[in-house]
């Protein structure tokens, strides 16, 4: 059954993506991340490589010293050459794609055997990770988002990657809103997060 599902998903990816050979390991990992369009649900993997190292330092306020009611903490995690700042995963579990792949693989019983397999895995994910569009159509939308306090965690600062400006809408900090510390979800690929009823941060009638 699982294989049949995988096949359906595999057939729905674009021709260019389908031409790339995919290892069994990559296929296992992709099977939990594919969307009906053939892309994956992890947005901006390529751009994320250029997220400045100083990013979380700009926003961290671990003990809410500024008194705005929001405490956010960066996380240091294991890395190849010593501790790194966590960026990947809901709990900021890893600083690099490779480290997160090992963590997620271990959690799901998938062994990523060797650098070649890891390279294939990375390539497969990066090829299918949508490049995030700029989240706001107008300056007024962004100002409404900021005025409603959303930008306290979903910050509206930008960074540059290959000549483009990206706004991940995340401080990449952990916040505890009652169910344990969780990373501010980057909203850069989720237009409905900003406009859908119930989450309407920027709609004029909200």
């Amino acid at each position: 059954m699982r294989k049949a599902l995988l096949l359906v998903f595999f057939l729905s990816v674009s021709d260019a993506q389908a031409e790339q050979p995919i290892s069994t390991t990559a296929e296992q990992c992709l099977s939990c991340h594919r969307t009906p369009s053939g892309a994956i649900d992890i947005v901006g993997l390529e751009a994320l490589k250029s997220l400045p190292q100083e990013w979380p330092f700009l926003f961290e306020d671990q003990f809410d010293l500024n008194g705005d009611g929001i405490a956010g903490t960066m996380r240091f995690v294991s890395g190849e050459n010593g501790p790194r700042i966590g960026v990947f995963g809901r709990s900021l579990a890893a600083g690099r794609f490779e480290d997160f792949a090992h963590i997620a693989g271990a959690a799901h019983g998938i062994e990523i055997a060797g650098p070649e397999v890891m390279d294939q895995l990375r390539a497969a994910f990066e090829a299918r990770s949508p490049d995030p569009a700029f989240p706001f159509s107008t300056r007024a939308e962004q100002e409404r988002f900021e005025a409603r306090g959303c930008a306290s965690c979903h910050v509206t600062e930008t960074f540059e990657h290959e000549g483009r400006h990206y706004m991940p809408l995340s401080d990449f900090l952990l916040h505890d809103v009652g169910d344990g510390p969780r990373r501010t979800t980057p909203l850069w690929g989720c237009s409905t997060c900003l406009t859908a009823p119930g989450h309407a941060a920027i709609s004029e009638d909200n």
């Binding site: 100083e54 709990s91 963590i103």
Partner: protein, 283 residues
């Protein structure tokens, strides 16, 4: 997640202390858990990394302001970006002040440079095209970035130096440094931004920067001695409360005043608990 560290090892460690060449076992992970635990050595190095990366972040931001000025950014934009950068530069530099407790020879940013940075972003534009004020921002942030860069390099060299160290010794040293810094009262001295009403910001960042180190190393204390773990959490909370309560609405701190006296009492209490933690890992 409850640790399943062998009880006899906990008892042994608590009663005799770790030998300095001991490796400290990490708390066990549950299958399916996405939260990897830092090893004991990584936990200590992460604290040094926090300091070094924080200072380095300040350097990077300072250089960005210099680039903006060189690119002819409007004064309004430049001063807004500089103010934003300044906040992180000062906060991160002061949060890393604990590193000088054990390593006083590490490069620092001099007081005159810190003052010049703040003065440059506080200045009123009074010249044609605000050129003088823009130049002042450029000059101050260039000097700040230069010195922060040197400080970051020094801090990073301390990480390299400790990479060959053994867990227990590193852990013990870390707590000694934290205790020494809080007990010394250095966090309340050399307040060079008094004229700008920033005494409390500086003290708060220094104190909080030290308390923040606890988060990374806490699991290892908790494994060995839950009482000390709880006592440190309680003392940290007391110090943070005092910091919020005593400094509310205060801009300038009197070196002999009640506010610093109260903070000193709380800082000493926390320092004493850090010393107890240090003893757990000392040979």
């Amino acid at each position: 997640m409850r640790p399943t560290f062998p009880a006899f090892l906990i008892a042994l460690a608590a009663s005799t202390g770790f030998a300095q060449n001991d490796t400290i076992a990490a708390p066990p992970m549950e299958f399916g858990n996405y939260d990897p635990t830092l090893s004991a050595k990584e936990a200590v190095l992460a604290n040094w990394e926090l300091a070094a990366s924080g200072i380095r972040a300040g350097e990077v931001l300072g250089r960005k302001i210099v680039t903006l000025a060189d690119d002819g950014a409007s004064y309004a934009y430049l001063v807004r970006q500089a103010s934003f950068a300044q906040e992180t530069m000062l906060a991160r530099y002061h949060a890393a002040a604990w590193i000088y407790a054990g390593e006083p020879e590490l490069a620092r940013v001099d007081g005159a440079t810190l003052r010049a940075i703040v003065a440059s972003t506080s200045a009123e534009c009074s010249t044609e095209g605000c050129e003088a004020e823009s130049a002042s921002i450029r000059s101050a942030f260039a000097a700040g970035a230069e010195q922060l860069g040197a400080a970051a390099v020094d801090a990073r060299s301390e990480i390299l130096e400790r990479q060959g160290g053994v867990d227990a010794a590193l852990m013990s040293e870390q707590f000694v440094m934290m205790a020494d810094y809080l007990e010394s009262g250095d966090w309340s001295r050399d307040l060079v931004l008094t004229d700008f009403g920033m005494d409390v910001d500086v003290v708060a960042n220094r104190v909080v920067g030290t308390i923040a180190l606890w988060r990374n190393v806490e699991p290892y204390v908790g494994l060995v001695n839950q009482d000390i773990d709880n006592a440190i959490n309680a003392s940290s909370e007391q110090l943070l409360r005092a910091l919020r309560r005593e400094t509310r609405g205060v801009d300038v701190l009197d070196p002999d005043g009640q506010v610093l006296a109260e903070l000193k009492v709380r800082a000493d209490e926390l320092a004493a608990e850090f010393r107890r933690a240090s003893a757990l890992f000392a040979s």
